[in-house]
Symmetry: C2
Subunit: 226 residues, 2 copies
C-alpha cells in the first residue's frame, strides 16, 4: 500500500463581536508563507485523529476549553497541498462566547465573512464547518456549545443571529427552544437592564451534550413516545 | 511527516427481506482469513476518497446504482489493523430496495442484526452507518434512497420499519412525509390488493437529493419563510 501523509486540522468557531469567527495562524514558512491556516498538524504514531486534534489545539493555540468537537470530513484531493501527498481529517470545534482563550502571537480570530488570504484548501474547510454548525443548530441542541453557561434570551438571540448569519427573533427563539425542552430558567436575573427596566431572566441549556432535538417523533417506537 | 496507509471502506446498506442489510465479502487471505469485511481498498494516487470508494464498489461488487453516498468518519485507532498503520475513510452507501445488484461469489448481504464474524473494526463501521442512516431518516428526506421509484404507503412503511428497526404506523408515516412535502401521489395505482380490495395509490418522493426536511423554521430569514 502506498504511504501518505496525514494531518488533522480544526476549524475552531466562536461568536465574537456579534459575528461568527474562526481561529487562524499565519504561516511563517513556505509553502504559502504569510497565508492564514487552520491549527493542527500531523497525526502522531500512537493517537487517533480526535486525540490528535485535541492535543494539537491545546499545545499550539491554548484552546483547551472546547465545548464541542466533531469530525467534519476527510479532505483528500491529490493536489490539495504541494509536495508529497497529505490527507487531512478536518474537525469542527466550538468555543462558548464568554471564553477568551490566550493565543500565541501568530494566531488570530477572523470573521468567516471576512477571511484573510488562506492557505491550501483551508477556506473550503472553514465554510464546511460553518455549514455543519448552521445545520446542527436546526436539528440538534448544539446552541449550548456557543452560549455562555447562563444568558438572557436577548444574549442568546445575539449568539444565534451571529452563528446563523441573519437576525433571529428573540420571541421565536425562546418559544422554540422551550418547546423542545432545551432551555430552562435558572431562577436568577441579569440585574436591571441598561434602561433601568425590569431585570431580565437568566436561562441555561438543559443539556450540554449534543442530541437530535426534533427526531421523527411519530416514527419512534410507542414505548419511547410517552 | 510519517507516511501512513489509507484505505476507503463502504458500508452499503439496503432493505432486503424486511431487514436492514449490509454488503460484506469473505476474506480469502490472512490476516483474519474467513472473516467478513466491508468492500473497499487502498486509496489510489490520483483520486480523492469519494471517487475511490465509488470506483472500488463498481469494480469489486458491481454496485453502480448507489442512490446515496456520504462520508461517515475516519477510523484511525493505531491498532485497528495488524501490520503497518492504515487509516480508513468510511462511507455510508445506500441502494434502493428494488435493486438486486449482481454480486461476486465471495460477497453476500447480511442483516445488521445478525452479522457474521467481521474483520478488524468493520462491525463498528457498520453500526456507525446504521446509526447515521437512522438519524438522517428523522431530519432529512433520505428515505428516497432506500425506497423504489414508486411505492404504496404500505410498501414504504415496510422500508422505514426495517431501516429504523421498529414497526412504523403507515398512517403516521404518510401524514408526516406529506406534511413535510416529501411525498406526492403519482396518480397511478398498484393494481388490486391481495384480498381484491381497492387498488392502493402509488407515491414517489418529490426530491431525490438529500436535504434537511425540518430546519429550524422560525429561525430562517423572513424572506425565506413565506
Amino acid at each position: 500500500m502506498s504511504r501518505l501523509g496525514h494531518e488533522v486540522l480544526a476549524a475552531v468557531l466562536q461568536v465574537r463581536s456579534r459575528s461568527l469567527q474562526v481561529l487562524l495562524w499565519q504561516r511563517a514558512r513556505e509553502p504559502q508563507v504569510g497565508r492564514w491556516a487552520l491549527p493542527g498538524g500531523r497525526l502522531g504514531a500512537v493517537e487517533d485523529v480526535e486525540s490528535s486534534v485535541r492535543r494539537q489545539l491545546a499545545e499550539k493555540v491554548d484552546v483547551r476549553q472546547l465545548s464541542h468537537v466533531e469530525q467534519l470530513a476527510v479532505f483528500s484531493a491529490p493536489d490539495r497541498m504541494p509536495g508529497p501527498r497529505v490527507l487531512a481529517t478536518a474537525f469542527l470545534g466550538l468555543v462558548p462566547s464568554d471564553n477568551d482563550p490566550e493565543l500565541p502571537e501568530d494566531t488570530r480570530w477572523f470573521p468567516i465573512d471576512d477571511l484573510p488570504k488562506t492557505a491550501f484548501d483551508h477556506e473550503a474547510i472553514v465554510l464546511r464547518a460553518r455549514d455543519r454548525l448552521r445545520s446542527k443548530l436546526s436539528y440538534t441542541n448544539l446552541g449550548f456549545a456557543l452560549a455562555p453557561p447562563t444568558f438572557t434570551v436577548s444574549e442568546l438571540r445575539g449568539v444565534y443571529s451571529a452563528a446563523l448569519g441573519h437576525r433571529v427573533s428573540a420571541t421565536n427563539l425562546q418559544r422554540v427552544l422551550t418547546r423542545r425542552g432545551q432551555l430552562e430558567a435558572t431562577g436568577q436575573t441579569a440585574g436591571s437592564g441598561p434602561t433601568g427596566g425590569r431585570p431580565a431572566a437568566l436561562f441555561r441549556f438543559t443539556c450540554r451534550d449534543m442530541f437530535i432535538t426534533d427526531p421523527f417523533a411519530v416514527l419512534r417506537p410507542p414505548t419511547v413516545r410517552s
